[in-house]
């Protein structure tokens, strides 16, 4: 891979969950993210998809060292973020930014757009001149398609799409190298979704950003990603290049997800109702032994119940965590 910026090795985030009992609470471990590894190159986009509660947002926060990993490492330009001192980590945050899911909730309602976008500037350059800040803020606003004369307005005076643009402007004001987008479009109208995604794409090209783009919508991810990681119950099931993933998924779960994408044509939709999946996602507090997906997998065999499949690399650049990846042919038939 050309100039790798981010390397994630066997990352795990476990939460302690207390249940029942006033004096003797039963402490259980919730494995929100368990053993995820991937690399990310400069200027590359990694899409992350998965059902609700599969650990996508936890992963995003762990990548930014907002959460402490229980195991494994996040290497940013070769440095382990968890090992840095608070002050060094704070400096690194210049390069690492995040865009949130709920555009309005991510903006302090009592601050003007100028103050919101300028906050990272003030934080890293406390002595910067007011004029310079104003100039930079207006520049970034123009870049994300906001009118710079709106600097004095408050978040509640903007639409959802505009708020998301403010969020993106705040993420870009320090010229970061990596932006993590935690479902940045799932709270927006479909027409606005397209605008925001195209904006992110063009900004990425212009600024050579690396993006981690989290979504639960496969078609959105397809549009923006170079590679896609599929998560299930905190584990990576498959990491494939975009073209391979949508044409010939390697993991049965990926293929089920692709089949579940709604089709706007009712005649076709009627023909492909079966995703091959049965049952609901098991509780992450009590995941199945062996392969976490075996309880719902139509191709499950005895081995899947006993042995955890490692995330392994196939001949091409794709990675999969399935014992039967070679035997199965999950090619998606064109509709």
């Amino acid at each position: 891979m050309k100039d790798r910026v981010l390397r994630v090795q066997d990352l795990a985030v476990h939460y302690k969950v207390r249940e029942g009992g006033l004096l003797k609470p039963r402490v259980q471990e919730l494995k929100a993210v368990d053993g995820v590894s991937f690399d990310l190159g400069a200027g590359e986009t990694l899409g992350i998809v998965g059902e609700s509660g599969c650990g996508k947002s936890t992963l995003a926060r762990a990548l930014l060292a907002l959460l402490k990993p229980s195991r494994g490492r996040v290497l940013w330009l070769g440095e382990d973020l968890a090992k840095l001192s608070d002050e060094d980590l704070r400096k690194k945050r210049q390069d690492l930014q995040i865009v949130f899911q709920d555009p309005l909730a991510a903006l302090d309602p009592r601050m003007t757009v100028r103050d919101i976008i300028a906050e990272p500037l003030w934080t890293f350059f406390p002595k910067i001149a007011r004029v310079q800040v104003d100039e930079r803020v207006r520049g970034v606003m123009k870049m994300v398609g906001l009118l710079p004369n709106q600097v004095n307005r408050y978040p509640h005076e903007f639409s959802g799409g505009q708020c998301q643009r403010i969020g993106i402007a705040r993420a870009l004001v320090l010229n970061p190298k990596l932006v993590i987008c935690d479902e940045p479009v799932s709270a927006l109208d479909v027409s606005i979704q397209a605008q925001i995604i195209n904006l992110l794409k063009s900004l990425q090209k212009k600024l050579n950003l690396s993006l981690v783009f989290i979504a639960h919508d496969l078609s959105v991810v397809r549009h923006i990603s170079d590679r896609v990681m599929v998560m299930y119950l905190g584990r990576a099931m498959e990491i494939s290049s975009r073209n391979n993933l949508y044409k010939k998924p390697l993991h049965p779960y990926t293929s089920a997800l692709i089949k579940a994408v709604p089709v706007p044509d009712p005649r076709i939709a009627r023909a492909v109702t079966d995703t091959g999946l049965t049952g609901d996602m098991p509780s992450p507090l009590n995941p199945p032994a062996g392969c976490v997906f075996h309880s719902r997998c139509p191709y499950s065999v005895k081995r899947c119940q006993l042995e955890v499949p490692a995330l392994r690399r196939l001949e091409n650049e794709d990675w999969v965590a399935c014992h039967r990846a070679e035997e199965l042919d999950l090619t998606i038939k064109p509709r």
Binding site: R61, L64, L66, L89, R90, K91, R93, Q94, L96, Q97, I98, F100, Q101, D102, A105, A106, L107, D108, P109, R110, T112, V113, E119, P120, T123, F124, K142, G145, L147, P148, N149, Q150, V151, N152, R153, Y154, H156, E157, G167, R170, L174
Partner: protein, 305 residues
């Protein structure tokens, strides 16, 4: 085709860039406009302002001294001829000037004790709520312990140990009132600290104290202001209660509570000694409550039915 090609192309986005800055309307301004529409709150605010002016400047305009004993008119009913418009008490002191001067003390106690509880409560509650975990548990247990002390017992103890003076009343009331404030602020902070804009600030490398100062406190100020306007009357009432029991203000100084207490003893022979300070006290309490209600509706429109 050719015609349109002649015209200079104007990109609407570029054109809009030339427009001067638009002024935004902050949530505070919105709340202010909503407050102005609340009649009860606006009238109450005017009455309170009038009351303040009366209490501060009134005694200077009245020719009687508050401790002057007019032997010609002891327990005299309100009358214009005698010059004692609101009458006198059993030892011939003018009720009007005593009520206004007592108002100074009552309002001062209300204000100072509230500020004390505001400062301690907000910083304590925000710290406990933001840092959470063991810090939170220890800090809130301390609050619980102080809360469990019987208030009257605490005040009497203070009086016995340090003797009676006004400062002690401020301290005693403030020391008890910040507990509620700390609990309210902590609860608000807990819900605020998990919001995405706090997380965004953390992701930008903003320090903990800056987050508390810049994001948490401004966002819980709305609730705090409402609580403050409801605390002031509560404190005035507590002071009145202490004075009524004889634990509060000392003669010759007076407060509304002390005056009501005095008046209650002469209730049958000179009812005006009870009625006049009582009216001032109740009007003040009502006004603060209406202002508080109005502020709550204005600052948190979601709560309104």
């Amino acid at each position: 085709m050719t015609k349109s090609a002649d015209k200079p192309v104007i990109d609407p986005f570029e054109a809009a860039l030339e427009v001067h800055d638009i002024k935004g309307r902050s949530p505070w301004e919105d709340a202010w406009h909503r407050l102005l529409k609340n009649r009860a709150a606006v009238y109450s605010a005017f009455i309170m302002a009038f009351m303040l002016v009366l209490v501060v400047f009134g005694p200077m305009l009245i020719s009687w001294e508050s401790d002057f004993t007019d032997w010609d008119y002891t327990s005299s009913p309100p009358s214009i001829e005698s010059g004692h418009w609101f009458g006198t008490d059993a030892v011939g002191r003018d009720i009007m000037v005593r009520t206004l001067e007592g108002g100074r003390i009552s309002l001062l106690v209300g204000l100072v004790a509230t500020i004390v509880s505001l400062v301690i409560g907000v910083s304590y509650g925000a710290t406990a709520g933001y840092f959470g975990g063991a810090t939170d548990r220890i800090m809130m247990r301390v609050v619980d312990i102080i809360y469990a002390l019987p208030f009257m017992f605490f005040v009497i103890l203070l009086m016995v140990v340090f003797g009676r003076n006004i400062l002690l009343i401020f301290v005693a009331i403030g020391a008890v009132n910040w507990l509620d404030m700390a609990r309210i602020v902590r609860g608000q902070t807990l819900s605020l600290k998990n919001t995405e804009f706090i997380e965004a600030a953390r992701a930008c490398g903003v320090g903990d104290w800056a987050i508390i100062r810049r994001h948490i406190i401004p966002n819980l100020l709305g609730v705090v202001i409402v609580y403050v306007t409801l605390t002031i009357p509560q404190v005035i009432l507590i002071e009145s209660f202490l004075s009524f029991l004889g634990l509060g203000i000392q003669e010759p100084m007076s407060s509304w509570g002390a005056l009501v207490s005095d008046g209650a003893q002469d209730m049958e022979s000179a009812p005006w000694t009870l009625v006049v300070p009582s009216i001032f006290l109740t009007v003040t309490l009502y006004c603060f409550n209406y202002i508080g209600d109005g502020l709550r509706d204005a600052l948190d429109p979601k709560d309104r039915l």
